[in-house]
Symmetry: C3
Subunit: 342 residues, 3 copies
Amino acid sequence: MKASELAKIIGGSLIGDDVEIIACAGLEEARKGDVSFCKDPKHVAMVRRTAASVVILPVDWDNECPCASIRVADPDKACMAAAKLLAPPEPVRKSGVHPSAIVDPSVKIGEGVHIGPFTVIEKGVEIGDGAIIEAQVFIGEGCRIGSGTHIYPQVTLREGTVVGKDCIFHCGVRLGGDGYGFTNSRKSDGTIVIEKIPQLGIVEIGDGVEIGSNTTIDRARIGRTYIGPMTKIDNLVQIGHNVKVKGYSGLIAQSGVAGSTEIGYGCLIWAQAGISGHIKIADGVQVGPQTGVPQSLDGSIKYVIGTPAMSMKDLAAITLAPKMIQKLKAELKALKATVAAK
Amino acid sequence: MKASELAKIIGGSLIGDDVEIIACAGLEEARKGDVSFCKDPKHVAMVRRTAASVVILPVDWDNECPCASIRVADPDKACMAAAKLLAPPEPVRKSGVHPSAIVDPSVKIGEGVHIGPFTVIEKGVEIGDGAIIEAQVFIGEGCRIGSGTHIYPQVTLREGTVVGKDCIFHCGVRLGGDGYGFTNSRKSDGTIVIEKIPQLGIVEIGDGVEIGSNTTIDRARIGRTYIGPMTKIDNLVQIGHNVKVKGYSGLIAQSGVAGSTEIGYGCLIWAQAGISGHIKIADGVQVGPQTGVPQSLDGSIKYVIGTPAMSMKDLAAITLAPKMIQKLKAELKALKATVAAK
Amino acid sequence: MKASELAKIIGGSLIGDDVEIIACAGLEEARKGDVSFCKDPKHVAMVRRTAASVVILPVDWDNECPCASIRVADPDKACMAAAKLLAPPEPVRKSGVHPSAIVDPSVKIGEGVHIGPFTVIEKGVEIGDGAIIEAQVFIGEGCRIGSGTHIYPQVTLREGTVVGKDCIFHCGVRLGGDGYGFTNSRKSDGTIVIEKIPQLGIVEIGDGVEIGSNTTIDRARIGRTYIGPMTKIDNLVQIGHNVKVKGYSGLIAQSGVAGSTEIGYGCLIWAQAGISGHIKIADGVQVGPQTGVPQSLDGSIKYVIGTPAMSMKDLAAITLAPKMIQKLKAELKALKATVAAK
């Protein structure tokens, strides 16, 4: 696309050469062929250094710019419009079942559903209107998928999984694997005996839930592992059996929740945090990155951090302990001298 | 299923309405159509609040119950029976090779083996009697799978992987990927040179090993990465090249073991723990959640926690340091006053 | 292979029985049928205990050996040669498209490219000479794959992903999933409103990058998530949207980098470390295992560790705090006694 064309579409005026534009990128990572953007004169140094071919700037920008620019009234809006124009086009997933897909005759498929190549859908599955099931997906017996849900390639749903409307599951999501449940005992001769506890429940996902790549959610031992509506789960997250996430919560990458724990409404679990089993996290609590939560959180502390989880203030006190100790040591030494001199 | 039918099967007597039951669930997460259970009068408040349609209770339960109940002699046993009855039926995987599977003519397939759709099995593979290889699995050249082993969809076994009897591999397990091995040097001009070290070994899995969804186990650089019998590995666990897990151990979700480390018999590695390379963990040691183990553990401490790994007592001392410092500070202040007054 | 044959190939002389050899393994894990190796008389105890059938030893080895041995001038070189000979043969991936693969007619395929069974390649994709795309891979619309790149089974590349030359992607790698981006607000009645932010960018991977099993790299919100040349990424690593890894860096298993962060040249991020979003890690910095990095690192500390990231010395001071406190306590007590006695 020519810079002049882009200027026209986003309602701006081009200053400088009418170069060819291929993509959109931030000022620092931009290269030849990119359009970038800046709305704040504070970042003039970044504009000066950019390798972009064109920069979207406010109309009243009176600093230099090393390349062509497009002047607009609202750079934020213009930049989002440019990004959408230059983004890789979203693939069209037409209604219909790909001839290579293996779909059991008993499967109930709604209106306008897309089922991609090499996907396997077993008996008794129900798929709501407008759902998109991409390539190489596995949907086990008796699963139910709500309308408008989008399942990316290579997702697996074990038997009995129930999914709400308008969910998005990214590549490699695993729902309904057996939970980690074993009995461990010793015979009189000391031999260890390990037996598997049957995992008889299911996974149930509410409406509007998004689940990131390679995240795993285990089926309940009995009953349901439940992810409430509008919960947003990032990549590589682990959710144990019988966990209940009430809804409207976020779980960031590589965090984990052990079995039978309940996460309240509107919680935010930051990256790599770990939450023990059989506890409750109160509504609205935030668990900081890499935090380890061994006990229930009643909400009296809104943001916990550290292992074991504590307030920011308590963690800072531990980090500052060596400095405090040095101070005490010096004071003690001084006092000793005073005492000796008396 | 009607509540009366369930009561009959589990040998109990129904009190209240003969409602329709769909599933089994814990008291707190149960909803209309669920049967739940309680054996302990201590939890009467949870019974009172439950939304279940029926609750399985001991015969001598004399507290209230907000819905129908089934009275039984042994609620634990009855509840497990009910859960099994109401669980999504385990899919039947019939003996035979799905016509869409691509199986090299040289593959040796035992009696009663199931091979699912879109599965690829390369030359020289041997599969023992009664093994189940589900849909969309990849088994590379020369792998050997023991009898009775169950491989769920979308597992990959790279060439040469050896698997024992009665193993269970959940969706997305990756066995035999190249270990992380590179040489790193600098030319005289400061340029970094990175070269791949060939990873020439294999992965060998003992009998009765279960491996959770999306867990990864790397092939050895030379020789074998070995997971001993009856080891139970949870989801998203990482096992580096040349690791040796002697057997009868558990590795909980998101834990990781770096290259060439040996884990003894009957160890338990809790969630998100990390174990350094080239060390040994003695038989029976437990490594707590999020613990980081930089050095070998000889078993003198049975449970380690924290980073670096230490005893519970030592970790508590660090956590309590700020409190101890405040106390010392106060004492020192008092002593200063005493000295000044003398 | 007979021990005598191996001896001949590696240019050594066999001492003892001409046993059959199946595999190569370290002294400690070796079993019957294995050839092992030792170059250093220091490890004579390990040689004495080994269950190997043959051990490769230096010509001047004058310690005992419980089994046959092959004496060579350079045990390191001989052992590597033996390992290569006995390794499971690397599967041959012949040039050509497997008849079961679904490749859009618009796809441009270079010379000598292998495309495996059940692989799906969508429209507009370009694949360079000599690339190997194994079984069950998904490559979305408009992706570009450089020459010599090897993609193992069950990798997914979402639309628009750009990959350099000579890369290696292990099983289950997920490139181009949507980044974690949501707006979070509250209506006047307190209801939480969560909306998805479109993720319009791509993932771009430089030349010579290796990515481990089940690692996930998200597409940029706008522009590119960029992994620079020769970067080596281990298993189960998470890279957020708009991250920039300049190149020649290593990211070890289960580490994670949050959105928009920049990792300099020649960095090493150890296992399970987590790096916050919107920060910069200077060239050559090492981030220790399980470290949490909340702020930019300017390179003044070359190796950071702990959460929050600090120097080894500072972390040691925290770990030693309880001991220091005990010492201060004792000194204070002694001083109190002195004061009281005056």
